[in-house]
Symmetry: C2
Subunit: 409 residues, 2 copies
């Protein structure tokens, strides 16, 4: 059961002028489930992407990087579930390229104008024949209002589709932002998450797109973790169709630039947090907020040490305020000159530890009360500076083990 994560609200899934989506059942791994998605862009659309830093990156990630670096504008995305096409060597690369060629031929564009994405089991050959056979059905399904079906078609161990959107006004014009994402395990994105697609009809200078994509990833997908495993396939794609009719944004620091970035960040963050709320086996959603650090980087390291600790995560699962485990994680986060006597720990509004020791006024029942909630904020005050950072995670439950022990069966 995902944590406070309702299904997508169809009203929020604004069609983006210039984008159509189509899905199909290609039988890539299992029959009778949507597993193939095509997203088609009009001419004049700007596309940027950020990808996993995992050095064992999947074949489609390698092809995406190549194609984004080439001259021709991107016209289509092809996404399959059921197979990650990672750990597949030269043959995997060839098949990823072949899938782009199939889409390009059908659309009358160059193969380098297609970006491929795969998610599923690692180290099994991509069934390119099934992808090619399923493609006509996905193309026949192309429609602007297919965001929810696309969100469903990219799910793997997800239990809920992840999609949301917002609208803002820019220069008197209504601008829409809509995004979808997927992911529930192997989640510790490093540049992006398993798969995230974010689109707007806003008008943005193409030169800003890559910076925008990176900043959105940094503020959202790069701040969540389920199990600490950085995937081979993490990809976030940000698309602007430039159709909304307002004056183009030529700086992200302009008023319009800030307004758009803020709207897109809201969507990114909801999509990223949705992945944690639907984290494999999750029963609780936990924000780990670290303040008073010397640098943002050290705050983030402390936050991730807490968010990755199996002992902390099982204590949250059990609603057991065994909070010394949090202090232990702070201690091994890798800050060499950390002084434990300046550190305070809060659980929501409950002050648990003061200057590295138990708060004399802390009562176990207060900790217990917060631990029983489904949404919890852990706040660590390092007392050595003014930087801060936040990471979102979930607990570690029996179901995480069950899901991952049975994933392929």
């Amino acid at each position: 059961m995902p944590v406070n994560l309702p299904p997508p609200n169809p009203v929020e899934l604004y069609p983006i002028d210039g984008i159509k989506l189509g899905v199909a059942e290609a039988g890539i791994r299992k029959l009778h489930r949507k597993d193939l998605t095509v997203i088609l862009f009009d001419e004049g659309v700007s596309v940027a992407g950020v990808f996993t830093q995992n050095r064992f990156c999947a074949a489609p990630v390698q092809v995406c990087r190549e194609h984004l670096a080439s001259a021709g504008p991107v016209r289509a995305l092809l996404i399959n579930t059921g197979n990650a096409n990672a750990g597949t060597g030269a043959e995997g690369l060839a098949r990823a390229r072949q899938s782009c060629t199939a889409v390009a031929t059908a659309l009358g564009v160059a193969p380098s104008q297609v970006l491929p994405f795969s998610t599923g089991v690692i180290m099994e050959p991509l069934p390119i024949d099934r992808i090619e056979a399923g493609l006509p059905a996905a193309l026949a399904d192309l429609r602007p209002d297919n965001w929810l079906r696309a969100a469903q078609a990219i799910m793997t161990t997800d239990t809920v589709a992840k999609a949301c959107g917002v609208q803002i006004m820019l220069g008197g014009k209504r601008v829409s932002v809509t995004g979808i994402s997927k992911g529930a395990g192997m989640i510790r994105p490093n540049m992006a998450t398993m798969l995230g697609f974010l689109a707007t009809d806003a008008c943005i200078s193409p030169g800003l797109m890559q910076t925008l994509a990176r900043e959105l990833a940094e503020g959202s997908f790069n701040r969540v973790t389920v199990d600490g495993d950085t995937s081979t396939n993490d990809s976030l794609v940000v698309v602007a169709t430039n159709k909304a009719g307002h004056a183009p944004i030529d700086s992200l620091d302009s008023a319009d630039g800030r307004a758009l970035k803020s709207a897109m960040l809201e969507v990114s963050r909801r999509l990223a947090q949705a992945i944690v709320r639907d984290g494999e086996g999750a029963t609780k959603f936990i924000a780990v907020q670290v303040e008073g650090g010397r640098t943002t980087d050290e705050c983030r390291r402390v936050a991730y040490a807490i968010a990755h600790s199996p002992l902390v995560k099982t204590a949250f699962f059990a609603s057991d305020p065994n909070l010394g485990r949090i202090l232990a994680a702070v201690g091994y986060a890798g800050i060499d000159d950390l002084d434990q006597t300046t550190i305070d720990l809060y659980l929501d509004d409950v002050l648990v530890a003061v200057r590295g020791g138990r708060n004399p006024a802390y009562r176990e029942e207060d900790g217990q009360r917060v631990m029983k909630q489904s949404e919890i904020t852990v706040r660590v005050v390092l007392g050595r500076g003014k930087a801060q950072d936040t990471v979102w995670t979930c607990d570690l439950s029996h179901d995480y083990v069950t899901i991952n022990a049975d994933y392929r069966s």
Copy 2:
């Protein structure tokens, strides 16, 4: 059920001339279990220790460091379970010192000649009154042949006591090495493990002791992990009583020095591996061997990335050869210039992946056969140098979650 870990063999637990051990039931956390241990040394005994690198180190670790740095030789160790005396601030330090004073007063030595060790729940006040009340019984129990009882008395979530020994001949004299350890969770030692005590009656120049302790930790306790959580209380103490009567060892590179170090490393490694075999919820013992790296450090980083991956560990629990998860962990281990096309992966003798892709001759049933074993070697060949390193770990099972969700209840 621990993995292929029988109870200690009493015949191997050689008394060490110059050392007596005594245990008592002090009721520190629960009644009717041995939870207090005193280890007494004759004069002339050399003691060295290595301690956790966790910056939230426990009060007893801080006191151990102070006392080892002071002039007087160590005469006694005091070990309690049931309470870690970590995250306890200034009051915790005062209580750790008070426990040393109690032992020192009873023995007629200085408080700085006593080293305190605590293990158990973090961030609860050390019940110093119960320790003081239990001390006379532990002192009355002091005997040279009490190694097994001491190994039992330092257990927390351990299901089996951990103790072993070897004997070698040095200069025509029989030399004994005996050690005990404890630990099953919060295990990712960084300098040492939760608690390890290793003693020999060999004669060694006192100036060599600290180097010896560090090298033994590096080759054993610093190569194991259960859950990646570096404890606040990790301590390894190495003791030489200098009673065996052979010519003193004045270099660890002499023939006798190498022979002794090898014997002590064997005992350390068995004790460290015993912690993994008894790892919380463990059903399998896994050696992760990384070869062909440029440096030992990068091999170790890759080995730990694999050994810490919850996805890899749950796949081992399920005997599911979902081995792409191992490649993914190699990819995020932090080697920036890693080339996936030079990497081979073996499971025992089965070649699973070649040059970053699935070995065409690999058959799933071969992987399955190895995954079902209780002892498995994962071998990764990086293909970029000649360095290698090995780390030992266990799988991640439902029982890990159960144990840590219920630890304090």
